[in-house]
């Protein structure tokens, strides 16, 4: 188990390195508007733009190795000592997350400030999605073809169809129309400072994201449970007189744990993406909103950092999912 974990973890730097390289290629080599021109504004002279490019380090070679075409068939390789990529990745490895492209604020400080709001939103949404998805998925399978089953299935299809941004907009509009209650928008208060205000901001948003994330989960739990409930050992368990609750929770649920875990992983990825939209609409000063504004302003260093961070989170979540397979299922462990 430990060796398996270590082997998987040893892949982490390789994956992050690959992702950082791809992010650099996408951000720095695709044709787009020059960031220096964008900051300089419309009235800037070419000299000013050039000066800005020098300041931002955009004039230096992008990668440590570059290839140019020559008159001969063999292309020429050039090695650069101070490329943009090697400087950035070198700093990252040393724990220096660089600075924001324009404001020159340290990314590390901004990350620290914005991490917790996003973490709280995603964790809450994921818990809600897991509870709704698993509970109603089981009920829907156990009471198959009852009205409950139909309601759950219809809700799942609707949940997969209604866009999150519409639900979040309604989240502001409906309480204001019906109860004259305005959702607190923006302004983050940590739960240990003022729990009430914190929950008023996060619970409604997490309910919306959690509901949207639970749609796929409900359907999957239902299908898996239906299959497992048909299995011989479930019939045996029933035949020897165990109560329905024990059969469902002890035998059926445990045996459908692996696909459910996979679906939870997928649900996490969906919620992680959805949290960007929620943060934009509710002006929650988290990582998603940062990503969004950085994309609008073409803040290359912030985007690079956040891409690597996202890859890190995705790899770790996948690792947790895989490790819990082994924890839940001895067959995986002994292989």
């Amino acid at each position: 188990m430990l060796r398996y974990t270590l082997r998987r973890l040893s892949w982490l730097p390789i994956i992050l390195f690959g992702v950082s390289l791809i992010a650099f290629v996408v951000l720095r080599t695709l044709p787009g508007q020059d960031p220096a021109t964008a900051i300089a504004g419309q009235g800037a002279t070419p000299e000013q733009i050039q000066q800005l490019r020098d300041q931002l380090g955009l004039e230096r070679p992008i990668f440590p190795i570059s290839v140019t075409r020559t008159a001969v068939v063999v292309p020429a390789f050039h090695v650069h000592a101070h490329s943009q990529y090697s400087e950035w990745i070198g700093n990252l490895v040393r724990g220096d997350f660089s600075r924001e492209f324009y404001s020159k604020k340290p990314i590390r400080d901004e990350f620290k400030r914005r991490f917790f709001p996003s973490f709280e939103l995603v964790a809450m949404s994921l818990s809600i999605s897991a509870v709704i998805g698993i509970a109603f998925g089981i009920l829907s399978a156990v009471y198959r073809n009852s009205w409950l089953d139909y309601v759950v299935r219809l809700t799942a299809v609707i949940g997969a169809s209604v866009p999150e941004f519409f639900l979040l907009t309604l989240l502001i509009v409906i309480p204001s129309r019906v109860w004259n209650y305005s959702m607190p928008v923006g302004g983050y208060v940590a739960p240990w400072e003022d729990l009430g205000r914190n929950l008023r901001l996060f619970v409604p948003a997490a309910l919306v994201l959690g509901f949207a994330g639970s749609a796929g989960l409900m359907r999957l739990v239902r299908t898996t449970m239906l299959e497992v409930l048909r299995a011989d050992y479930v019939r045996t368990a029933r035949a020897k007189g165990l109560s329905g609750r024990v059969v469902v929770l002890e035998h059926a649920l445990r045996n459908s744990a692996t696909p459910i875990l996979t679906a939870l992983g997928t649900s996490f990825v969906a919620i992680f993406g959805g949290s960007v939209i929620a943060e934009v609409i509710l002006s929650i000063q988290g990582l998603g909103l940062w990503f969004f504004t950085a994309a609008q302003q073409r803040d290359l260093t912030v985007i690079q950092f956040l891409v690597v961070y996202t890859a890190f989170v995705v790899v770790i979540v996948n690792l947790i999912v895989d490790l819990s397979y082994a924890w839940l299922d001895p067959r995986v462990r002994y292989n």
Partner: protein, 303 residues
Amino acid sequence: MATAVRPAPRAAAETAFELPRQAPLLLRLARPWLRNPLGLIGLIIVVVFVVAGVLGPALAPHDPRALGESPKFLSPSFDHPFGTDRLGRDIFSRTLSGARLSLTFGALVLLMGFIPGSALGILSGYFGRWVDYLIQRSGEAWTAFPQLPILLTVIAAVGPGLKAVVIVVAIGAIFGGSRLLRAVALVEKHKDYVLAARSLGGSEGHILRVHIVPNIMPYILVGASSVFAVAVLAEASLSFLGLGVQPGTPGWGIDLADGRGRATEYPHVVLFYGLVISVVVLGFNLLGDTLRDILDPRLRGSR
């Protein structure tokens, strides 16, 4: 020469070997739909959406771009069934015209992403080997990563606009299509009719074209339906965030974002766009689910 009238032998043969009577073809095709009212609703929604997308602006009662023709923020009435927005534009007309954007976007994703992806999936499922391995692993890596950050990264590189959104969603559809059709092709290639065609001397290309592709066509339809649902949602979400289509263009996502500022006073400026997106996506989802249920009852309820 015997000229006696003989009873018509063919008629006799027909009565002797008559097959069990079958319902007319149309009824046989319609029956599963009638048994699945939700699927029928989905089909109707999709047909209405496609008609609106093709004819949209021609059907609109008002000019969707005309400014100040009517008072601002009119509530829904007979003349303006969905009311008017903050610039006095008729929301019903904009909704109808917005269908064209969603339809075009979905069609582009289908053509650039799903169809090449399906072809790739069929080939890699049928022939296998390392290309298959490479495609599947890249697909897994791509789907493991949340889509919105990928989109934001590409937009940071090339600037906002529908082009970046189409490309990223289409890449997702390539992988989605290839995964679905690969699984289908893997099952299909071991079936007896393929063996029969091969033993009759059919080349691999012939078997793929004439036998396998027509047999798995329904699965392609299922995939196309869900790709359309995803594409319509993606375009609306990105345009809502201001990263997709240009402002002023009739589109459901961008028009909803446009009304958001005054939505607490005049809910109708966001309500109808949101409902239309939801209903259209629901239509494609219901259609896809029903098609799959009809095709393969074992998959019922799965994704």
